[in-house]
Symmetry: C2
Subunit: 204 residues, 2 copies
DNA sequence: CCTACATTGATACGAACGTTTGAATCAATC
DNA sequence: GATTGATTCAAACGTTCGTATCAATGTAGG
């Protein structure tokens, strides 16, 4: 009755296959049959191990987002100026996105689904927004970051990595913009872009 | 045989209903039955007027994107500094998004679908990216805009309106951030954010 | 009026969907 | 080696999907 999740576990294989297929085709576009086929599992395996397609989806999303929350927390906790720590969060985003190329899909699928986001997404959003808001506020209080509405600024900061990664993929796939945006250039660019937007020196 | 598209046309009602439902539930999540029900049309009407569900979707996306292309073109063509015209494009985006709240859904659904985007989306992307790239290059040549890679910069500029609109909706719906981001504040914020990021004055 | 054509309507079809079922198989415990 | 519980398997269920069919209806032009 050893229930360790060895890598070859059927449940683990289902989660992995689910991650790929849900990300690529969306929730409705993914079929239990397709997932079980890719996971080399029986059709009934999703019901057996997760209860339903919906609960497999939640498990997939949660397993993709949990490490992101941790990374953001970590990046925000180092010592340094608020701006440096915000840059660290941006880099943490890029690191996680490049290691988990399916991730931005889940985030945006949830955002565009029109439904109330499922719990792990809600948690992650609140956590990231809360963390960045705190850093911004700290920077604004000590004068190192320009005054501005917190929420839209935070959204602007988050939007960059997600969009650069995703649209980069899209363009290199289909856009007539050969090569798209290489990951490392994208990261440097995002850090610069955010840094300038937050600290632009007024002509004095 | 008068084939004017009066507002009560079955084809028009189908396109309108399709826009709402495709945006809200995605392509696979929307059903022909649901669309025809909402349009008060017969089940066979989609096949009859558009040939298939897929072609209705293309018609919907095209009817949503065509006006955006026009607006961007217009905003980029006015006289003014490159930065002012870029700001105009950003404002055009916001105007179009706030009048067509379903629009960002289509854009991001395409981006996250993993499939090659359908033709009107590809056209629009290329057009907007081309237009902004030209404005950026002009500004970089006359020194009014900082040097940076064109493509990621353009993506950053586009990402802002889409994300602010969408995430604003999401947060006001579910996020524990009451009110989200009011549309007019979002627009001003985006214009400032972009302006700073493009023209930050180096300490000299 | 009548004919021709465009549109609507009700119904049917086959395929794919998520889930259920119950027998078969496997691995650990006594 | 028998027993037990967990897991896999093949098959089937009922539902919903997109599309096709064809008769009924509306609407000009002759």
């Amino acid at each position: 009755m050893i229930k360790l999740s060895r890598k070859g576990d059927t449940a683990t294989r289902l989660r992995d296959a689910g991650r790929r297929i849900f990300a690529r085709r969306g929730y409705e576009g993914a079929s239990v049959r397709g997932i079980t086929r890719e996971a080399r599992a029986n059709l009934g395996a999703v019901t057996y191990h997760f209860g339903s397609k919906g609960r497999l989806y939640e498990a997939v999303v949660d397993s993709a987002l949990a490490p992101l929350r941790d990374r953001v927390t970590e990046a925000a906790a180092v010592s340094g100026t608020p701006l440096e720590r915000i840059e660290g969060v941006v880099r943490a985003f890029f690191a996680h996105l490049s290691e988990n190329p399916d991730m931005p899909h889940f985030l945006l699928q949830q955002v565009t689904s029109g439904r109330e986001p499922i719990e792990p997404v809600q948690q992650t959003l609140q956590h990231v927004i809360g963390t960045l808001s705190a850093l911004l506020q700290e920077g604004q209080e000590d004068g190192s970051i320009l005054e501005s509405d917190l929420l839209p600024t935070v959204i602007g900061i988050i939007a960059l990595p997600v969009h650069l990664t995703l649209v980069g993929q899209l363009l290199s796939r289909a856009g007539g913009f050969p090569g798209g945006v290489p990951a490392d250039r994208a990261e440097e660019h995002a850090v610069q872009f955010v840094g300038r937007a937050l600290t632009a020196k007024e002509a004095s």
